[in-house]
């Protein structure tokens, strides 16, 4: 057993999707063996971490057998052949329970697969199971799950971040080489930072939302988790691209992401978002400054930029996202799927069902959203928040006249202890301060594991780019990765660090 952080002895081959796929495709490694190793590992260690709401072991073994059969017959098993992948439990999987970590959907199985799931399966990936999240993706710690919190593999007394905490922790724990999450205000990037893995929120519309259970439709985007930037780019390339089942899906070609990894950062113009540094911990600020130095030494030009408008993003987000959520979650009415609690008439049945099925944070956001959309408050709150959204987009546009990418902390702090912020919703919301502006603007952004704090906990650095600027973002991401503190990224043994 490993007594310290860093890759686990003998399991390095399972930490890297590109090498797993390469070895499986060549016949050197059997997908069936990958599946058995992963399932055994999850069986022995996930009871403590609770990354997964559901492990789909039989389906994983069947998928592995199919990959091995294709390899044996000389057919192409796909670019992700034999790679174990974890799916956030708000992505629909046909015939497989999809709960959103809510009592409302407990026991419900969707009649169709999300487009991203279909693309993963077609690429030869092996789905390990469905990962825990804050209920309906509302939260920043995965403590809002109706099925109990996920624990951070770096220190099991701390949260993994959220809302995609189960996916981030599954990759950090070495249970899956890749995972999918969704990011509405930071729900991929913040847990990625807190778990020492790579997480990308793509440009809005680059990845299909068909089959992603809707939270705030103008902000939601599906994206990848991985242990390396190259793996994250590979996964994003696999799931990206037009989908006629999503009316907000972009047309046009997908940027050649994996090619970006070799281009270096010579001549890349990098701006450091100065306004974010005052609200971040010393370790998070130091990571950004050191990251800027790494990029500078690699040939990028670096300057500080002032974007004070971005700090208004948080308030605008906590009006816009609940407003959209209150509308999207109206569908949980006890009629078509999920929970029903009986009542005298339809209205009482609706109200009882929704009170029993939704947890406190979801109820709070539905009421907040209903309030800001209600007569007399719409202009003062919702319309004003939408104007702030324009302000944020304009601030970004101003910056991108001079720089190609922006650098910022991903989160204000490292992973915090379980229970530290559950009593105060506002305190929890502040965890998303630096990630929200990219969602408001529809821009891509990623978190790269870069450093360790004094306690050995991972610190992420965020790279932001303009719409469809994934190539520049990934160029910076790879350079940051190569200059990162050794041991700053997963997988780790649970509890090994602290």
């Amino acid at each position: 057993m490993s007594g310290a952080g860093g890759p686990r002895p003998g399991a390095e081959g399972l930490s890297d999707a590109a090498s797993i796929a390469s070895r499986v495709r060549s016949g050197e490694l059997r997908a069936a063996d990958v599946a058995e190793q992963v399932l055994g590992d999850v069986e022995s260690r996930d009871a403590e971490l609770h990354c997964f709401n559901l492990v789909t072991g039989e389906a994983m073994r069947a998928a592995a057998a199919e990959v091995d059969r294709l390899v044996a017959t000389g057919a192409d098993p796909g670019p992700l052949a034999g790679v174990p992948v974890a799916l956030k439990d708000n992505l629909c999987t046909k015939g497989v329970p999809t709960t959103c970590s809510s009592r409302m959907l407990e026991g419900w199985s969707p009649p169709y697969d999300a487009t991203v799931v279909r693309r993963l399966v077609a690429a030869g990936a092996l789905v390990v199971g469905k990962t825990n999240l804050d209920e309906f993706a509302m939260g920043s710690s995965t403590e809002n799950s109706a099925f109990g919190p996920t624990r951070n593999p770096w220190d099991t007394g701390r949260v993994p971040g959220g809302s995609s905490g189960g996916s981030a922790a599954a990759v950090a724990a070495g249970f899956a080489a890749l995972a999918l999450g969704s990011d509405t205000g930071g729900s991929i990037r913040q847990p990625a930072a807190l778990c020492g893995v790579v997480g990308i929120k793509p440009t809005y519309g680059l990845v299909s939302r068909y089959g992603l259970v809707a939270f705030a439709s103008s902000l939601d985007q599906v994206g990848p988790f991985a242990t390396t930037v190259a793996d994250a780019a590979l996964l994003l390339e696999t799931i990206a691209g037009h989908d006629e089942m999503d009316s907000t899906s972009l047309g046009g070609p997908v940027p050649r992401l994996t090619e970006a990894l070799r281009s270096g950062v010579d001549g890349l113009r990098v701006g450091v978002v100065r306004d974010f540094l005052a609200d971040a911990s010393a370790d998070c600020v130091a990571a950004v400054r050191n990251g800027a130095d790494v990029l500078s030494r690699a040939g990028a030009s670096v300057e500080d930029v002032a974007l004070p408008e971005l700090l208004h993003g948080l308030s605008a987000y906590y009006l816009i996202a609940p407003a959209e959520a209150s509308s999207n979650l109206a569908r949980y009415d006890g009629v078509r799927y999920g929970l029903r609690v009986d009542g005298e008439d339809v209205e009482q049945m609706n109200a009882r069902t929704r009170a029993a099925g939704f947890g406190p944070e979801v109820r709070r956001r539905i009421m907040l959203g209903t309030y800001v959309l209600s007569a007399g408050y719409y202009d003062a709150y919702y319309a004003q928040a939408q104007r702030v959204r324009t302000l944020v987009a304009r601030a970004f546009a101003r910056a991108y006249e001079h720089v190609d990418v922006l650098l910022a902390p991903t989160a204000p702090s490292v992973a915090f202890p379980l229970g530290a912020k559950t009593e105060d919703p506002l305190e929890m919301y502040l965890a998303d301060l630096f990630t929200i502006p990219s969602n408001l603007a529809g821009h891509p952004a990623m978190s790269v594991p870069f450093a360790l704090d004094g306690q050995g906990l991972p610190v992420g650095v965020q790279v932001l780019a303009p719409a469809l600027g994934e190539v520049a973002m990934l160029r910076a991401g790879v350079a940051l990765e190569s200059g990162a503190t050794p041991g700053a990224r997963g997988p780790v043994r649970p509890g090994a660090v602290v």
Binding site: S247, Y318, Y371, P425, L426
Partner: protein
């Protein structure tokens, strides 16, 4: 200016949102929503005269597909997740208030 949501306002909002709410929870939620709204007051105070609203990050136009018959979920699949079904339809409690 501190925002104070009254319990009556919270109960009205809960009714609009079809959420049953106990008297105790109404008080609790009134405090929490007031604190959140208080935090976002700064946004209300911004002078954004002349700044257009953004409702969506993309320049969207309606996307329509050709009006062609194509395979879709069967009735059984659609009804398969429903809590109550009757004669191939979703079953609900009475909608109108009158007695039979």
């Amino acid at each position: 200016m501190a925002v104070e949501l009254t319990v009556a306002e919270v109960r009205h909002v809960a009714r609009l949102a079809r959420l049953e709410l106990s008297a105790e929870e109404s008080v609790h939620v009134a405090g929490q929503l007031s604190a959140i709204l208080d935090h976002v007051e700064a946004v209300r105070a911004l002078d954004l005269e002349g700044i257009p609203a953004t409702s969506h990050p993309l320049e969207l136009v309606n996307v329509l597909r050709a009006d062609e018959v194509r395979p879709c979920l069967t009735r059984e699949e659609v009804l398969g997740g429903a809590p109550a079904v009757e004669d191939g339809r979703f079953a609900v409690p009475r909608i109108l208030g009158e007695t039979p």
